[in-house]
Symmetry: C2
Subunit: 210 residues, 2 copies
DNA sequence: CCTTCAGGTTAACGACCGCTAACCTCGCTG
DNA sequence: CAGCGAGGTTAGCGGTCGTTAACCTGAAGG
């Protein structure tokens, strides 16, 4: 598994800093001069690496969606063969774990992912949405194998909601006031599984409408 | 229970449309001319009602946080008296229900709430954060009454995560492809309770680290 | 009937921002 | 060592945006 040890290219530096700045202050809130300054060059120097500011955002968002989907497909293939509900549970755990890793390691990207999609050109936006949809549908299939009682629309809503839960990491303590990474990951994992289980257990609706 | 039947004032119209536009395209992505056009007046006419664009955002965010906190306090007081875990469960259900109502009825505000906070003047931002913190702490207390096994940091993380879950409604089907409002509310409610329960049940960590 | 004022209007200013143009300066290579 | 391309630089253009200035209008009040 390609574990990079060599220095990042300037292009990669730019993408990383741009992601951080976009996440912090929004796409329109960041000027190209600031992005340049963040990597030690100034303003228009960026145009040696990208055709424009939009292109940076597009590459970030397409990259995120693509990596999420690719990772999920790989995890699905790895745990293949083991059929039945037990196998499906293993796959679901693997999907959750992968998403949590991503959410914890690339917070700015997670933030961008559902915040700046509308700033893209039509074609890029369509591509990103298509990748996102495939990712969701992949989850939906696995969730319905683990919880066959769930209808497809309910499963899809549940998946979106669990994404909301897992993607909440940027809100968990700006500083290191929260528990260690391992504890946080385990907590999120448990909650995700519990949320899916509760979604499937509609007999839990013993609460009177308020 | 002030159920308004009279027509909204121009000021309220402006706030509502501004919220929608800010949520759709980001604070910096919307011009004052657009906000004006959305309420039938044009550009600078807004300055008869607000000292500036920033002030609209500030009033929106302070209003949201304040309403959330006020509602939660009211619900806490209403269900007071009934002590013990059963009473706490009722309060938690009431809090969840209130938050879901808000998330479903005021999607744009929910979106703004955790997206544009950094665009505020220092003083307003501090006020909003203080209101948010009180709201979170109120939840944390109730959650820990229902699930005493949860440490305070874990409970706080869990609460933030459940907010992420409940606030995911803007991502659930832009159009009406999703189930009805009542079904969605019940699903979210169940998932929130399930997530809290799973957070508290740390014996569920039988999964080997990947 | 005159005044006042809330709530609009259009014109325009100044700042900022994305991007281009023109130029510079290395390090490599034939 | 000449040439050249990669990767910078600064100056500046054109457009947009928030805000202000100056003016208009219609309804209410004495």
């Amino acid at each position: 598994m390609s574990t990079r040890t060599d220095a990042p290219t300037r292009r990669e530096q730019i993408l990383k800093e741009a992601a951080r700045l976009f996440a912090e202050r929004g796409f329109h809130g960041v000027g190209v001069d600031e992005i340049g300054a963040a990597v030690g060059i100034s303003g228009p120097g960026l145009y040696r690496h990208f055709p424009g500011k939009d292109a940076m955002l597009a590459e970030l968002l397409v990259g995120i969606s693509g990596r999420l989907l690719t990772g999920a497909k790989r995890r699905l293939a790895e745990a293949d063969g083991q059929a039945g509900r037990a196998g499906a549970e293993a796959v679901l755990d693997s999907l959750i774990e992968g998403h949590i890793d991503f959410a914890l390691d690339d917070r700015p990207l997670i933030t961008l992912h559902d915040r700046e999609l509308d700033r893209l050109r039509e074609s890029d936006r369509k591509l990103v949405r298509q990748l996102q949809r495939q990712y969701v549908e992949l989850w939906v299939e696995v969730v319905r194998k683990v919880h066959p009682e769930l209808s497809e629309p309910a499963a899809r809503s549940a998946v979106h909601s669990v994404f909301g839960l897992l993607n909440s990491t940027p809100h968990l303590g700006r500083a290191g006031t929260l528990p260690g990474r391992g504890d946080t990951a385990r907590l999120l994992h448990r909650m995700a599984r519990g949320a899916f289980a509760a979604a499937a257990d509609s007999s839990a609706d013993r609460l009177a409408a308020g």
